[in-house]
Amino acid sequence: LFKVATECSVVLCCRVAPLQKAGIVALIKNRTDDMTLAIGDGANDVSMIQMADVGVGINGQEGGQAVMASDFSMGQFRFLVPLLLVHGHWNYQRMGYMILYNFYKNATFVLVLFWYVLYTSFTLTTAITEWSSLLYTVLYTSLPTIVVGILDKDLSKSTLLAYPKLYGSGQRNEKYNLNLFVLNMLEALWQSLVVFYIPYFAYRQSTIGMSSLGDLWALASVIVVNMQLAMDIIRWNWIIHVFVWGTIAATVICLFVIDSIWVLPGYGAIYHIMGQGLFWLLLLIIVVTAMVPHFAIKAFSEHFVPSDIQIGREIEKFEALNQVNHSEIPMRTFS
């Protein structure tokens, strides 16, 4: 039965009891590693909805039992199309990117601290003040992540509905896979090396104090990590602008505040080091050097090996120049 069913593109079952409905879903779910979705509107669909990975209930003619048992509920069957093609696609893209980005940004920061340990006779001194280390995940890099994870979209609703096959990018794991993870980690490694070693070589035999150099490392890490996010943001609205640039400004303010507390060893360090021209030159070259590989890889892959999503983005931008062919969708959609 299973072999026959999987050979067909559509299978119709009629006169099915509720338990058999659940059994059909279980058959597919247990024998393959595909995701299953069940949609139904009546009480006899409840067991099927609960058996599937994603259960969708319709709130309508036959009452509310299906809705209470489901993960998502809608008003009409045709709303399934935007649920999958639009919201499902957006959620996949956002989640995939956010998970990869979170690993990357924490790895970058921790690796900078790690390289310093090599030069403190392997004792675990942190040049970056403890307050800054704490605030790194709480304040310096958290808010842009959250805002981008909520608001960023790679393609607009109309494009996704016009080209349903774009949904296939999620099915092929294009936004979250091992290759992307390894690439992310390599970028974290490179950027941490840049952030650590450029000031190291510049200040190697000078009078620089631990707190001053720590401030430079902290500020450089935060700027680099946020620049990486900025380069990957697809849709810039005013909220994202405020949070990304505002976070960098908040970091600078926090560094000033921390270095104005006389009890801490870093008292006055940021005022002193920001007055030197070398600090600003180093900041500029650190940010640019860290970003060059990412930018080059992005430019190369987006132009020479474009993914469908990339072509979709270009279609959106240049639709006045090219004729957009709407592929056939039997249901009338609302946009």
Binding site: Y119, T120, S121, T123, L124, T125, A127, L151, S156, K157, S158, Y163, I198, Y200, A202, Y203, R204, Q205, S206, T207, I208, G209, M210, S212, I234, R235, W236, N237, I239, V263, P265, Y267, G268, H272, Q276, G277, L278, L281, L282, I285, V288, T289, V292, F295, A296, A299, H303, F304, P306, D308, I311, R313, E314, K317, F318, E319, L321, N322, V324, F334
Partner: protein, 351 residues
């Protein structure tokens, strides 16, 4: 392609999302609709910029970085070349015997040592005199914590020496001011500078940060019980001078970031001409021999880039050159393999 390129269409526009929801069929009665109130934010239709990387932007970005960085690199290299720096390592030559540790720890040996240097170029005042120490981990975790900042500022906090162990209290449990290993290991070599035989004064005022002198070290705190234990780690302090004026101590207590570091000893406020002989009489008191460190004397002029350091100039030139070559590379690639933007025939199911 060339035509497009020179048109320089920067496809960086912000667009208004012109997507308002169509009315659903059969809905018009406000009493029976459950539709939530429309807002751009909740429907995720905020107006947004959708920047896209086009060949023009990529090449322009790399070329701009290259064009900006190469001059900065050249200016930095030039500034670094202008700095005149004399470095003379003296720890090995100043102790002629084999048992260096014993020599240094013996308080009766004569530790005077004379060092001569010839100035290669004209040095404009102020000329900074530094001591350069190598192999001294001022950033060691236990060392960095071994101090009491509260004690340095407030007389009433003199007893707060818990972090300073083992240099916290004397044998009779009296608090040491300033306590801790950082203060205990204060550098104590002294330098007397003669230029062409004439004694030149080294100004030891204002060598510490103003913020430290005013706010971190108290004006009414005097050293007490300092370096009175069995093990002498470094200099002794004049007990009648308050801590805010003990500038050598303040400079030393700003712990260095890396194991090779220099600290400001003083400034020479006269110019030194080329080919002048600078003779420095050193009191070689400080013990860097027991841990394999080294000491050196540095005379250096100042510039906006700090001391003599070619690294920043070389780094800028390298990155600038790399970006220019990437711009060239991308230009060639774009001319060789061109594709149209936004062409649906490139979608994977249409190819």
């Amino acid at each position: 392609f060339i035509f497009d390129f020179f048109n320089a269409r920067l496809h960086f526009g912000c667009s208004r999302m012109q997507m308002y929801p169509l009315e659903m069929e059969g809905n018009s009665n406000p009493k029976t609709t459950n539709k939530p109130k429309y807002s751009k934010f909740t429907q995720q239709e905020l107006p947004a910029c959708k920047p896209l990387l086009t060949p023009e932007i990529v090449i322009a970005a790399f070329a701009l970085i290259g064009a900006l960085f190469v001059p900065i690199g050249l200016a930095s290299l030039h500034a670094s070349r202008q700095v005149v720096e004399l470095v003379h390592r003296y720890d090995a030559s100043c102790v002629p015997v084999d048992d260096k540790v014993g020599f240094i720890q013996n308080s009766r040996t004569d530790k005077t040592c004379t060092v001569t240097m010839t100035v290669p170029k004209y040095m404009k005042s102020p000329i900074h005199v530094y001591y350069l120490i190598d192999g001294f981990y001022q950033n060691h975790r236990r060392y960095v914590r071994s101090r009491s900042d509260k004690q340095l500022r407030y007389k009433s906090a003199a007893h707060l020496t818990s972090d300073c162990v083992p240099e916290g209290d004397t044998a009779d449990h009296a608090p040491i001011v300033p306590c801790g290993l950082v203060a205990w290991s204060l550098f104590n070599d002294t330098y007397t500078v003669r230029v062409n035989g004439v004694v030149t004064q080294v100004n030891k005022k204002d060598i510490a940060w103003k913020s430290d002198k005013n706010n971190k070290f108290g004006k009414n705190i005097y050293p007490s019980n300092f370096q009175k234990g069995r093990l002498i780690g470094g200099a002794t302090l004049n007990e009648s001078i308050p801590l805010s004026e003990q500038e050598d101590l303040i400079v030393w207590m700003r712990t260095a970031a890396l194991p090779t570091f220099r600290k400001l000893y003083g400034r020479i406020e006269k110019d030194i001409n080329a080919n002048d002989n600078v003779t420095v009489v050193i009191q070689n008191n400080y013990n860097t021999y027991s841990f394999g460190g080294s000491k050196a004397l540095v005379l250096s002029t100042a510039s906006w880039i700090g001391g003599k350091n070619n690294f920043i100039g070389i780094a800028y030139l390298t990155i600038g050159g790399l970006c220019l070559s990437l711009a060239m590379g991308f230009l060639v690639l774009y001319m060789v393999k061109r594709r149209n933007f936004g062409d649906p025939s490139n979608l994977s199911w249409n190819r």
